[in-house]
């Protein structure tokens, strides 16, 4: 629904301005002058036919449920509501059968067997279970864990907690393109190392770590390899055998499935991975994760994986096309823009761009009918920009200027065209407002200025 006020802002605001000036008793000739030449950040970009606002382009945060997934889930809320652990009546059998079929669908997508899939409440739980469960189970073998600096907080915070319990954690740095250096990994592994946990695709910059090579190194050294594959499962091919993965976390809502359901792949042979349960109860899920199974959620996750497997190739090509179109449009119209992270090793639907000399949150405010994310942490209490972008070696100022575009299955070319036009328009307007852009255009070297840090 379009808000009429939003569409005629200058008129409404001018009225408001007169009103307030009058109340203040300060009405002067300047109001007349302002009417003539009023700076405005409001965009007048026309909305193309077939595009409804707001546009969702934040698919790394979450994705809409695919209607086909919803259809598969529906019977399991009302008619087929049984507990999958009920062994003695048809309601339970029906639920169990649905769960086992979903297990097959998920396993097939990642090249695993159904028995190797453990259901959880989502990827945060999967990451916690994998890392804490392995740390606990293999404590006698060693206390060293290796991860890297741009991991999701579900991994980083879990590792930090383990440090409090006496584990030693190495946080590998990343190169300017966002990828780890395999030589760093080899050097970091010692005789106390029990686990390497490195994400498959990054949630902010979409770069794909060389997981196959990482897994190979781990297996050569007899170290377990866990990967948080939340962003990459269903988007790019993953095969736990070929990629030498021992434990893998995935989530439903990033792949057009429901929220509140995820899975953990736990390898059963070569090597057989053992994980200490973190939630005790009825011993569900091979004793690794107790709790009544979320049957409708699991059915949805299974269906989402089935669709992803069938459509991955064509969808990836489609998203790459949209992403490159967006990138080309932005680059052809704007100067001082910087793509963050490797373009070569990247998720098809991800584009992370810094619009230098424009602060990210102010840009989001100007494109408020488009849902994207910013690396500017101006809304956070710490006022720290994205740790992922900082890890690439970007200055805080460039990190503050970044926008993450997350393209997904339901985005269209018309939407991309509108978003590109709108972003270009607002960036240009905000740069008219930016003292930094003016100074750079005048040839002033911003690094030579003694800024008064606040």
């Amino acid at each position: 629904m379009r808000d009429p006020v939003r569409w005629f802002p200058s008129r409404v605001n001018l009225f408001d301005f007169f009103l307030r000036s009058g109340n203040d008793g300060k009405m002067r000739s300047r109001t007349v002058r302002m009417e003539k030449k009023m700076t405005t950040v409001v965009s007048q970009i026309e909305v193309p036919a077939g595009v409804t606002l707001p546009i969702y382009m934040d698919n790394h945060a979450t994705s809409p449920l695919d209607p086909r997934v919803l259809e598969a889930m529906m019977p399991y809320f009302t008619q087929k509501f049984g507990n999958a652990a009920s062994r003695n009546h048809s309601f339970g059998w029906e639920a169990e059968q649905a769960v086992e079929s979903a297990r097959e669908q998920i396993a097939k997508l990642i090249g695993a067997t159904a028995k190797e899939i453990i259901f959880t409440s989502g990827a945060t739980e999967s990451d916690n279970l994998a890392i804490k469960g392995i740390a606990e189970m293999y404590r006698e073998r060693g206390n060293h864990i290796i991860t890297q600096v741009t991991e999701h907080k579900a991994v980083l915070d879990t590792c930090k907690r383990l440090e409090k319990y006496g584990y030693r954690v190495t946080y590998l740095p990343v190169k300017a393109d966002g990828l780890i250096d395999l030589e760093d990994l080899k050097r970091a592994i010692d005789d106390q190392t029990i686990l390497v946990t490195i994400m498959s695709a990054n949630n902010e910059i979409g770069v794909l770590q060389p997981i196959r090579e990482i897994g190979k190194i781990c297996h050569e050294k007899g170290v377990l390899f866990h990967t948080d594959a939340v962003q990459s499962v269903g988007k790019v091919p993953i095969n736990v055998i070929d990629d030498n993965i021992d434990v893998l976390s995935l989530s439903g809502h990033k792949i057009y499935g429901p929220k509140g359901v995820g899975a953990l792949y736990v390898r059963r042979r070569n090597p057989r991975v053992q994980i200490a349960a973190q939630i005790d109860g009825g011993g569900h899920e091979r004793g690794m994760r107790s709790g009544t199974l979320n049957v409708p959620g699991i059915v949805g996750l299974g269906k989402a994986c089935e669709i992803a497997l069938n459509e991955m190739e064509s969808e990836a090509a489609y998203l790459r096309g949209l992403r490159d179109r967006l990138k080309n449009k932005l680059e052809s119209e704007l100067d001082y823009i910087h793509v963050n992270g490797s373009m070569e090793h990247r998720l098809p639907g991800n584009l992370n761009v810094s619009f230098v000399y424009v602060e990210g949150e102010s840009l989001l405010m100007g494109i408020n009918d488009v849902a994207v994310s910013s690396g500017s942490a101006c809304t956070s209490a710490t006022l720290e920009p994205s740790y992922v972008l900082k890890a690439l070696g970007l200055g805080d100022d460039v990190a503050h200027s970044s926008i993450r575009f997350g393209l997904g299955r339901f985005n269209t070319q018309a939407e991309v065209d509108y978003v590109a036009a709108k972003v270009i328009d607002i960036v240009k307007k905000l740069r008219e407002l930016s003292p930094l852009y003016e100074m750079v255009k005048e040839g002033i070297d911003l690094t030579k200025i003694e800024w008064q840090a606040h």
């Binding site: 802002p9 200058s10 605001n13 001018l14 408001d16 301005f17 300060k26 002067r28 300047r30 302002m34 009023m38 700076t39 405005t40 950040v41 409001v42 000399y357 424009v358 602060e359 949150e361 102010s362 405010m365 100007g366 500017s376 101006c378 809304t379 956070s380 209490a381 006022l383 920009p385 200055g395 805080d396 100022d397 503050h400 008219e432 407002l433 930016s434 003292p435 930094l436 852009y437 003016e438 100074m439 002033i444 911003l446 200025i449 003694e450 800024w451 008064q452 840090a453 606040h454």
Partner: protein
């Protein structure tokens, strides 16, 4: 986060955007904040040498919507005031007017600093004694 209507209004239609000739004797320039903090404000004033009234005020801001709104409001408030009157503006006045949430209070602090820095620069240029210590201005 939700912005107040006044912040949105100043963001959509910022008042007094622009640049004054900083080499002019009548112009004072304040440049505060730092790019790595995500906020830089430049506020300029043109002061009537006879009356010491701020006849013109211009700003440019790199920063979030609240930073843009704070500096826009600051220019609106100081225009028509004498230099001494303008120094009476406190960041808390800006917080109140724009209904800034706690995480955005630093934007109002920066706007107050910008006013002081611009006035300080003008005073220095014109040999007017400082009545109050103004924060040091960033130098190009």
């Amino acid at each position: 986060m939700a912005y107040s209507d006044k912040v949105v209004d100043h963001y959509n239609n910022p008042r007094n955007v622009g640049t004054l000739d900083k080499s002019s004797q009548e112009v004072g320039t304040g440049l505060v904040g730092a790019p790595e903090c995500g906020d830089v404000m430049r506020l300029q004033i043109r002061v009537n040498p006879e009356t010491q009234v701020i006849e013109e005020a211009k700003f440019k801001t790199f920063g979030c919507g609240s930073a843009i709104a704070s500096s826009s409001l600051a220019t609106e408030w100081i225009k028509g005031r004498t230099v001494e009157d303008a120094l009476a503006i406190k960041n808390t006045d800006i917080v109140k007017e724009l209904s800034l949430p706690p995480v955005k209070i630093h934007c109002s602090v920066l706007a107050e600093d910008a006013i002081r820095a611009a006035i300080g620069d003008w005073k220095k240029k014109n040999g007017v004694a400082e009545t109050e210590t103004a924060p040091a201005e960033a130098k190009a």
